[in-house]
């Protein structure tokens, strides 16, 4: 479980996150949604330890991230998997080497053991026999799947995804969503996804947090988001006519 309490972050005196509190549970896909510039990525980078936050606390399974030694931080980092917005695959390495890198960094497995694990996770994301391909030879969807494979290769307890669907066609986006959902259920991990994609919200949003100008404006799930009367949420989620009609039908039917 990840707990955030009164998290605050500012850049050059400008507040980007204002007293954010939330809890993210194991085995659930939690989505952080909001307009561009609402603070989603900053929140994710604070959770990943890439930004130092000003005030508040972040607890991973009850352990405050700020109060632990460097060695314990390394131990915690080995339990974190991350899928970046642009996949962030290493250009100079092939797919196999990309996925193998976290194993090399955190473990002392033999080469054969590492290769077995790499093949196992590549199979899990439906990318068998692509080991020797370079990232530049892979499509956007394939790159995202490699990034997911790299994120789960160390059996993480926490998975963070920053807009995993950006730049993908709707069909591939759904495949990626379902893959993340399945992995979350299968490994019983805490998954936090930053997203703009309304399909993801409706499909896999077991918990949804809506950020606006650095504040937590609303919290709910894919079921309660249809019924909310929070104007900021409805303006953001139901900005298209299609979703407005879907919402009207949902309310009428229920």
């Amino acid at each position: 479980m990840i707990e955030i309490k009164n998290l605050q972050k500012s850049f050059d005196g400008i507040k980007v996150l204002s007293a954010i509190s939330a809890t993210f549970e194991r085995g659930k896909t939690s989505l952080v949604i909001g307009e561009s510039g609402s603070g989603k990525t900053v929140l994710l980078k604070c959770l990943l330890g890439l930004h130092n936050y000003d005030l508040g606390e972040i607890k991973f399974d009850g352990i405050n991230y700020k109060n632990i030694s460097d060695k314990e931080k390394m131990g915690l980092k080995s339990k974190i998997g991350t899928v970046f917005q642009g996949s962030a695959l290493f250009d100079s390495m092939n797919i196999e080497e990309n996925v193998m890198l976290p194993l090399k960094m955190f473990n002392n497995y033999s080469n054969d053991e590492m290769l077995d694990r790499v093949n196992q996770v590549l199979k899990r994301v439906n990318l068998e026999n692509t080991n020797k391909k370079m990232p530049s030879e892979a499509s956007g969807g394939m790159q995202k799947r490699v990034a997911i494979a790299r994120a789960i290769v160390n059996n993480p307890k926490f998975l963070f995804c920053d807009e995993p669907n950006s730049g993908l066609d709707p069909n591939t986006a759904i495949i990626i969503d379902n893959l993340i959902k399945e992995i979350t259920d299968e490994y019983k991990i805490v998954t936090i996804i930053n997203s703009h994609d309304m399909n993801s919200v409706m499909e896999i949003g077991e918990k949804i947090i809506f950020l606006k100008e650095g504040n937590k404006e609303w919290e709910g799930s894919k079921h309660t988001i249809f019924k909310t009367d929070n104007e900021s949420v409805t303006n953001f989620v139901y900005s298209s006519n299609l979703y407005k009609k879907v919402r009207e039908m949902y309310i009428k039917n229920s």
């Binding site: 970046f84 962030a88 250009d91 890198l101």
Partner: protein, 245 residues
């Protein structure tokens, strides 16, 4: 103010380079790859430039020593002095600042833009050690490159001398051997070693701390080339004053 901040940041980067080292099995591969990228792949251009510039130096020396009072072996002597003292260590380093320096800045800068550096940090990797340290180790082989430049520069000079009819082979070789001061080689290699560290670290600094997108990667490469040249030229003056002054 930003200038002093950047100098502080540069030395902080150098210190962080030795914190939390990357596993040796991974580091070894990085060193081999960076040696190939920086030193081995520069061998061709350095050989080409050295041979022809050596030839040009010799021709210009010969054309400026037309009087009967000048012994012909002075052409070889002057060529050797210019190549060992300045051309090979300093001018080649400026060429390397352009070739290798901009490669280092753009490759690390691209990694920054595409969040690859963030990905390393999230994996618990000291990204400065991972990215900069192997380049510094690779550049320890830089004196080898400069030795090649010295040899080919003098060879080019000899070829130009013979084919241009400015002097004989014997005269040129006599000139090369005349009043040779071994400390000049030490001086040249001390400079080379220092310039090698500059070529590895200054462009890395500009790539690592760059902000923005693809356009800024290009700008960072240009800025890194300028600052690498400035550092090389200033250090060249200081080292020459200390070692030869």
């Amino acid at each position: 103010m930003i200038f002093f901040h950047n100098i502080g940041l540069y030395f902080t980067m150098l210190k962080k380079m030795f914190d939390k080292p990357t596993k040796w099995s991974v580091m070894r591969q990085l060193i081999i790859k960076d040696t190939e990228d920086t030193v081995v792949n520069s061998l061709g251009i350095i050989s080409f430039v050295s041979f022809f510039i050596g030839g040009v130096i010799t021709i210009q020396m010969a054309l400026n020593m037309t009087g009967s009072l000048y012994p012909k072996y002075l052409i070889g002597f002057a060529t050797r002095e210019i190549i060992i003292l300045e051309f090979a260590p300093t001018i080649i380093s400026i060429i390397m600042a352009g070739k290798v320096g901009s490669f280092i800045t753009s490759s690390i800068g691209s990694m920054r833009v595409t969040e690859q550096i963030d990905a390393l940090e999230v994996m618990g990797v000291n990204s400065i050690n991972y990215l900069v340290f192997p380049k510094v180790i690779a550049m320890l082989l830089y004196p080898f490159l400069i030795s090649v430049a010295m040899f080919l520069g003098m060879l080019g000079g000899m070829a130009a001398c013979i084919y241009g009819g400015y002097s004989t082979v014997d005269n040129f070789i006599t000139g090369i051997q005349t009043e040779f001061i071994p400390f000049h080689m030490t001086y040249a290699f001390i400079k080379t070693f220092v310039f090698g560290l500059i070529i590895a670290t200054v462009p890395s600094f500009h790539g690592y701390y760059m902000k923005g997108g693809a356009l800024e990667v290009g700008k960072a490469s240009t800025t890194s080339f300028i600052w690498t040249c400035v550092c090389i030229i200033i250090l060249n003056y200081i080292l020459t004053q200390i070692l030869l002054g």
